[in-house]
Assembly symmetry: C2
Homo-oligomer: 225 residues x 2
């Protein structure tokens, strides 16, 4: 299934060599699990990342260009409940509005997949959080309708990305491959039926990380040659 | 542990995006498991591969240079019993001399790790198969002593590479990352204690595969910055 003519679902995520997107024992204190912060060293040092978290300073390097590219041409987004709020938190209490302050760095509608219904929350700067309780396909459909012809970003976390991958709904996947072996944690691909073929779009070698962008959703049939 | 001053243990292997080096249900008919042959499409089409299997023709492309580089400066090798002989075969019957005919493509001593003792077998062209029954560290030690200052190649299969990786004995690991998701099979890293840090040596984008070479065996400590 190729959807190049319409709004694409794009995703980018940091991953260890052994395929983990979070370390073991995720908790409120260690939301990316033990050792999981090693996956994000390359990005949290960037000025582009610090700016979206209201921090000054930071580096500019080849990774800055990759982050800007990954964030470009996005009209709406989907994220999982565990990215929006603290892990293990209860149903929405009507006060939690995400990690990003009054002016979140999205500036477009963000569809949060959750089991707990809640009215939309309009933030400053154009970000609106909308809560979707009828599954990932519905969230994608609503985000596409809201994206105004631009692409939809699947922000994460790892668990919901795995669900979208398993459902074959992601059009473009960029892996930020970090040269570590975590040994345990959450795998990006787990329990999928294979084989599935992707197509490499491009590779960029950058400080502390290698960026591999793939077009997904291709046929699993063998090439005739 | 860095061993740059001495003979290094080097390894290169094709791997799927989800970390599998063989598909599920390996058997005599499907030695790389179901779908596993997709991991090797990029290499079996090469003239360099066909030549070592006494076949004519084949392609020359960027992958040819990678294969030549991976095979250069090798003075001895280690391989697992399942690479030397058919999977599920019994103890050595004294007649099986590998898959490669009378003149195997190695031309150096090859140490086969097995539970079944057997006298060395001298083949044509300088290849000698020696059988090691006291484990992977002994095999490596013997291969290093025989390598004459050159490096030692760990040929595979996947299972013995996983054992050497878990033991931290590999100095340089090249992953031929094939853009497929197998979903099941044998993982290269499985049950290791993490985190372990590697260091990227270089990346090459080539037809059907991306080559990522890493220096392994680095400290797992965080960088001070």
């Amino acid at each position: 299934m190729r959807r190049e003519a319409m709004s694409r679902l794009r995703c980018h995520i940091s991953i260890s060599l052994d395929g983990f997107v979070a370390g073991p024992n995720q908790s409120e204190e260690e939301p990316i699990g033990e050792g999981g912060e090693l996956l994000h060293d390359w990005v949290v040092s960037l000025a582009a990342w610090r700016e979206t978290h209201h921090l000054e300073g930071g580096e500019e390097n080849e990774n800055s260009r990759i982050v800007a590219e990954a964030r470009g041409n996005i009209g709406a987004a989907v994220m999982g409940r565990n990215m929006f709020g603290p892990i293990g938190g209860g149903p929405w209490d009507g006060e939690w509005n995400g990690w990003w302050g009054d002016d979140p760095p999205y500036h477009y509608p963000v569809y949060v997949v959750t089991h707990h219904p809640r009215d939309p929350v309009e933030m400053e700067g154009g970000t609106t959080f909308r809560f979707v309780t009828d599954g990932i396909e519905s969230a994608l459909e609503q985000a596409r309708a809201a994206a105004g012809g631009k692409d939809v970003m699947l922000w994460g976390g790892g668990q919901i990305i795995s669900e979208y991958l398993a459902a074959g709904l992601i059009d473009e996947l960029e892996l930020h491959v970090v040269p570590i072996v975590l040994g345990a944690g959450s795998r990006l691909w787990d329990g999928l039926d294979g084989p599935m073929k992707y197509e490499l779009v491009r590779v960029v070698e950058a400080p502390g990380v290698t960026h591999l962008k793939y077009r997904t959703g291709l046929s699993d049939s063998r090439d005739p040659a």
